[in-house]
Amino acid sequence: MSGFLQQCFNGLVSGGFYALLALGLAVIFGMLGVVNFAHGAFFMLGAFGAYVALAEFGVPFWAALVAVPALLFLFGAVLERTLIRRLVPFDPLYNFLLTFGLTLVLQDLVKREYGVQSQPYPRPAELSGSLDLGLFDYPAYQVFVLAAAVLLCLAVWLILTRTRVGMVVRAATERPELTRALGVNVGRWVTPVFAFGVALAGLAGVLAAPMRAVNPLMGADLIIAVFAVVVIGGLGSVFGSVLAGFAIGLVQSLGNLYVPALSQTLIFIIMAGVLLWRPAGLFGREEART
């Protein structure tokens, strides 16, 4: 029983990463109509940012948790202003291709500098022990990551549904022209929303650094799984993406326990099933498909 619960916890922790990345993808897609291939590369940059900050400048984890996403926010803003924006009027596939090219560049830049082997990153001292969760002990850091992922998703959810900014973003997502016609300056929000999504991926990367291998390829493998998560949840549905993220993490981890042969392919099998049953995803709208 405790083994089962522990595996559930593991699943929710990795689901937290799926959810954070899928959330950023969904928000960016909603606002710009862009599927950001480079999202995995930004995740990797976040983890490497934390590693470099500690190894070269002695910046501790907690400072990196704030500084690295802030830097990536700036990076994302610059990217949106200089590159992404130019292709938004055209077929959205062009931006998919553009961010694919960016992924190759970022990944190989990091690979050239640090090689393909994984870099170690210690857990912060405050979270190095384990917590007694009643039935079993669980590493304190993982508990922190799960709590952080849930709180971040909740915070974004509250921003989107309860604030004026969120209202504008949601309206612009649903009907950009109408929102503009009502006098809302939609363009003003495009850069911050894109940069926010990038920063969120970076934050997930910093969170991943102490518990996953920090290497240049960590993002690429993850992002394709996140694409499957987004397809399952429904492209453009923030709620669906987050929910699917946690659910897939959980299912994948239980699959690991019971059918280890399928551990890596399970997510794609689920995606195939969802596509058969609901081609637009569990929470997606039909119009997002074309």
Partner: protein, 355 residues
């Protein structure tokens, strides 16, 4: 639509330029291993077929598949395994690989063609990743991270291990594949694909079963990608996980976009350039090839979306207009300003379905 059909049913024989181009292309293909390092020539040939097969979907059906490595790679493994275990001549092994790729494309395509646009790209990418994981885990068959080694290259007892010789053994398969693609593109079926690309709702309203056409295009494209992948594996004597990796899918897309979407010539040209560039970088000892290819790709997507072939065609069209205009009095040209080369590409993804 009618205009489109009329344009395509014009007899090709009226265009001597096109035959000249074809002859030049064939001559270049035959001379290639004399001009460059023979293994690279074979790589160019395989990738050219792969890129052209991908363009059948991207350029002519309007579907961006970001998961064609699944078919290229599956066939690479299958052709390798057939060649190793059966000792059959290599064209049979390559054909076997292509058939397996086509068989794999049926269920994947069935699930994917219900979506289009960006959704299609993501779903194909995800399924290709699934094939990657299967290849990675099925070590007894694929050799896992070590790859499948020692694939023989022989044909009816002839030893073809010399890359120079093998090029001429493999080239007919590539040319056959390209010819097949040309026939598909210029057949009534190909024109229906173009109609679906330009206006799926209208094609459906006319009565074409859009999904079935897309699926058939997907399977044909996968089979020809498989033909290319099997040939590639046999020419290297080796099939690795790289063949099913997402970067391989991306590389093929890169070739098509660089060469010009919606043109078989363009895809071939793009393949030659990308393979040559990567070969140049790796022999120069540069260990960040993605930095260069990625930057080139970003620039192409930003500034040069019609691709090399598209740009060439625009230039040719502009020159043609200038020539036709010359006999007219100057007043006429002033009254009717020269229309800028069409930018329909921006809206409809591809300029023109000509091969």
């Amino acid at each position: 639509m009618i205009r489109l059909f009329l344009r395509h049913t014009e007899p090709a024989g009226r265009r001597p330029l096109r035959y000249l181009l074809l002859a030049a292309g064939l001559l270049l293909a035959l001379a290639l291993p004399w001009l460059i390092y023979p293994p690279v020539a074979m790589d160019i040939a395989s990738w050219a077929l792969f890129a052209a097969a991908l363009d059948l979907l991207l350029g002519y059906t309007g579907l961006l598949s970001f998961g064609h490595a699944a078919f290229w790679g599956t066939s690479a493994y299958a052709a390798g395994l057939i060649a190793i275990h059966s000792g059959l001549p290599f064209p049979v092994a390559v054909l076997g690989g292509a058939l397996l790729a086509a068989a794999l494309a049926v269920p994947i395509g069935y699930l994917c063609v219900r979506n289009s646009g960006i959704y299609f790209a993501m779903v194909t990418l995800a399924f290709a990743q699934m094939i990657y994981f299967v290849a990675n885990q099925w070590r007894s068959l694929t050799g896992g991270e070590n790859g499948l080694q020692g694939i023989p290259r022989e044909l009816l007892g002839l030893d073809l291990s010399d890359p120079f010789v093998f090029y001429y053994a493999g080239l007919p398969i590539v040319l056959l594949g390209l010819w097949g693609l040309w026939r598909i593109v210029h057949s009534p079926f190909g024109h229906v694909l173009v109609a679906i690309r330009d206006n799926p709702a209208r094609a459906r309203a006319i009565g074409y079963p859009v999904e079935r056409y897309k699926l058939l295009a997907f399977v044909l494209s996968a089979a020809l990608s498989g033909l290319a992948g099997g040939l590639f594996a046999i020419s290297h004597g080796f099939a690795s996980l790289q063949e099913v990796n997402w970067t391989t899918s991306g590389k093929a897309v890169m070739m098509v976009v660089l060469g010009g979407i919606g043109s078989l010539w363009g895809s071939t040209l793009g393949a030659a350039l990308v393979v040559q560039l990567e070969d140049y970088l790796s022999t120069a000892g540069f260990d960040g090839i993605g930095i260069v290819t990625g930057t080139v790709f970003v620039l192409v997507v930003l500034l040069f979306r019609q691709g090399l072939w598209g740009a060439g065609r625009q230039l040719g069209a502009a020159a043609g207009r200038a020539r036709r205009r010359r006999p007219k009095p100057p007043a006429a040209t002033e009254a009717a300003p020269v229309p800028t080369p069409t930018t329909r590409e921006e809206a409809a993804w591809t300029p023109s379905p000509r091969g």
